[in-house]
Amino acid sequence: MLSVHEVTTAYQGLVAISSVSIEVAKGEIVCVAGANGAGKSTLLKSIAGAERPRSGTVTFDGIRIDGMAQHVITSRGIAYVPENRRLFPRLSVRDNLRLGSYLYRSEANREAPLDLVFKLFPRLQERLEQRAETLSGGEQQMLAIGRALMTRPRLLMLDEPSQGIMPKLVDEIFQAVKRIRDAGMTVLIVEQRMSECLEIADRAYILQTGRVLMQGSAAEIAVNPDVRKAYLGL
């Protein structure tokens, strides 16, 4: 479904990822892990169109999307939840969610995803009229994921969704990701909580200083001794 081929992206000449290739098949949950600064976020940005790759190609459903404007990529069915969330701070929770479904502006289209969001994060339903900026850190994270779901994506990309989320909910989020996948979406997820993430993922990639260090099924990666030592701290 998504194919990233030999993508190199740089910030002002500083290469953040170089010749990274990954594949995501329809219905998969793919986890990308790696140390801080390894280039995980950069990879997602390059796919989402927030950064323009210097070279390489990104294809989504057989169509090249690198070089497309970010909003066009979103409208093609890729939802991206960035690390810093980028909510609309002075708009209410309700408006943030409504904007998520801007592309499918009809109440009928809204209901299903909205139900999903409220089922995943009932807290949001209690906070509908509150401004996004006054939400607690964790609530903001829920809203960011919720908003992305409202775009009815086929591919959902999450950058460290567990950040700032309480333990009980972390599990729920990963379970939610699973349910999201079961609802027909594909998920590409960047996570530090590798052990939890690998539990739900089908496949995983490990990045190191801008390159793919390792790839394989989640189960393989999870038992790999190097990974356990270097990334799981075991």
Binding site: Q70, H71, R86, F88, P89, L91, D95, Y102, L103
Partner: protein, 292 residues
Amino acid sequence: MTAETIIQSLASGLLMGLLYGLIAVGLALIFGLMDVVNFAHGEFLMIAMYATFFLFAFFAIDPLLSAPLVAAALFVFGAVVYLLIVRFAVRAKANAGMVQIFSTFGLAIVMRGLAQYFFTPDYRSVTHSWLGGKTVSIAGIYLPVPQLVGALVAIAAFGALYLFINRTDFGRALEATREDAGAVALVGIDKNKVFALGWGLGAALVGLAGAVMAIFFYIYPDVGASFALIAYVTVALGGFGSVFGAFAGGIIVGLVEATTAMLLPPSLKAVGIYAVYLLVVFVRPRGLFGSM
């Protein structure tokens, strides 16, 4: 001072206030809601008035009829200004506010220069129009018809804008783009399209105002300057982000102006407006109804 004088003054003030509102409604959208500074607002009004004038002078189209035409022309103009100039100004991350101020200030100067070049600095007026010079008098209180119509247009424009902003997804998209122009792409919104439409709409509202103003006001390249500051104060007084605020702001400005002129030498009547603005924001730093 007789009661009649006072009532007449307040009535005139109210009408004038609604006109200020009409002039400010476009600004309430661009400046108030979209949070983009447009220092050329007065010049937008100026070209709208010229457009009305020339439609009248060459094709004998009455301002009432030409108002939609002028609004449409201004819509295009506003969108083009956004795409050619403002788009780049809002993109500046560092001191975006100043960049907006000065690029639109530059635009204002250019527009005045162009108006002078093409239209000469002569003072123009729409001499005969259906409404021009007509007055209704109720119990000794005179209400000029053009201003009355202007007031109605103002109320309609505010109502429409209010519904548009608060009831449509486009309105929400506009606000979202203001909040974080980079993030709207995350929900598939093209910020340039949204903002170009917003500017077009704002300018179209100025076009309406210009058509109404042309009925009873003189027209020359610098005419916008007289209204620009008042429009700014009107929007800020009502509070950023609030359409209703700008409407209320206009009425308050008109009434305060009329009242001040009764109490102080008329040359100081603007002081009343400014003082009320200061008082309001000192007490409520977000203006009367502002959300930002």
